[in-house]
Amino acid sequence: MTDTAMTEVLAGEPNHHGYRTFQLGEFAFERDEYFAYVRWPTGTHTMSVDAFLRAAQRDVAWNFFYGTVNFDNVVGTVNHYGNVDLFAGSFNEAYRKAELDHLENFPHEQILGTFRSMLDDWTNEGFDPFAAPEETRTAWGDKSGNNTEAITRRRVTASRMVGVPGDEPIRTDETHPVNRMFADVDQSQPEIYAEPGFEDQVCAFNLFGYLSRSDVTWNPSIVSVCKDSLYCPTTEEYILPIIHGNDRVEWFVQLSDQIEWEVADKVTGKLRARVTMKAGDVAAMPADIRHQGYSPKRSMLLVWENGSAELPELIATGKAPTYPVDI
């Protein structure tokens, strides 16, 4: 990956709240004590700054993820894997009808560098955009320090499986204490009896215990890899800070507790379904929808992705269906 520190970030001097204003193409981003403002040639948009930072955090951490990351129903990004669209109103019927929508495409490194700098400048000490609202201080107020350590957490990406020698390590009390909502989750590890010389083949770990120690919410990370089949479990609490628009079929397995998903059309935003998932439920999210989840108690969700680079094109050209199977 290109070093984004080498890309040019256009940022002004701090405003009277202490925050820099950022420019990306014809988009401008500004914040004050409570709000983030996005401006483009044909419009402006205001978001609560905590919601904006939580969304920007996911977009940056996931390298713009698969498909569309809607910050809300107006502003967001579309990943083209090498370059990224930044849009306002492009997936909002009213904006498009009024011809107030705006979209610009940027090299991946340019938009990533700008978003990283903005996130760092706008996140105050004590506010963790990855944390559940109960577990962090607020985003409000004039500029007050930073929280670079929290916003630059390394995303777990196992190459084979967590716990395999040389791969991602398991979590312990020293690095990841058990979350308050998962205090009852069994922490015992599997019994492993490897013959000498087969320690890297006879491997297992406690996935539920591992997830119970996650210090972030709504942040899928890779724990096992079968070619392009990626297990990306995550722990969820409160509301998914973005509305994810799929460019491929995505699968969910609810491992614990419950999440409600609001599902809307990817292009228009019109509601299509509400999906309630309880422990053991399995559901696909079609490739032509956007979805946002609500988790009243911290829950464990297995997000299952097919990371094939060919899928978006196959689906966009109609060579692969937008839904998972014929029933």
């Binding site: 109960e134 084979r160 509601l271 379904a273 509400r274 422990a279 053991g280």
Partner: protein, 172 residues
């Protein structure tokens, strides 16, 4: 200022099991529920034969198989890694390093050996609910569960993969 955990709430994490699960569902507003292929893996396992490999998730060639572990399985092997997540019960896994790979490297999914494996014992794993085990490529494995258990297997569609979507998924 304390953050989190200060209050009246006590938290109970709800997992499912073969004998105790609740199922959610799709409330269609302007869509076909079949597009979500909604099922419950405990329900699928409860209605499956022992060691049947029933697909609950499919993305091109990749699948999530639900296996009702009950008794002792046949020996199987696979050209690629697979991963077994125990969703309920206790499962013992025996692994053997085969003297030579039995399936071609491009073969998808696991195959039955049809007998005892020729090779060296590599080890054994005892996995309980929430434990995930690697079933390494080109090893032979055999699973055992003294009581009915449930496994979610990350693998690729193979010759013994079973599809019965209309039986397991919400259709209306």
């Amino acid at each position: 200022m304390e953050l989190g955990g200060v209050g009246l709430s006590t938290y109970v994490t709800k997992f499912g099991s073969l004998l105790d699960y609740e199922k959610g569902g799709v409330e269609a507003i302007d869509d076909d529920p079949r597009h979500y292929a909604f099922s419950n893996l405990f329900e699928v396992a409860a209605g499956s034969k022992p060691w049947e490999k029933v697909v609950v998730g499919k993305n091109q060639q990749y699948v999530l198989e639900v296996i009702r572990a009950d008794g002792t399985s046949e020996w199987r092997t696979c050209a690629h890694d697979e991963f077994a997540l125990v969703m309920d019960g206790v499962v013992e896994i025996d692994l053997v390093a085969l003297d030579e790979a039995i399936v071609p490297s491009d073969k998808a999914g696991s195959v039955a050996l049809g007998g005892e494996p020729a090779g060296r014992p590599a080890g054994r794993i005892v996995a309980r609910r929430g434990h995930m085990a690697l079933l390494p490529a080109n090893a032979a494995y055999r699973l055992r569960a003294d009581e009915p258990a449930c496994i979610l297997l990350q693998t690729i569609f193979g010759e013994d993969t079973v599809e019965r979507w209309s039986e397991i998924c919400q259709t209306v």
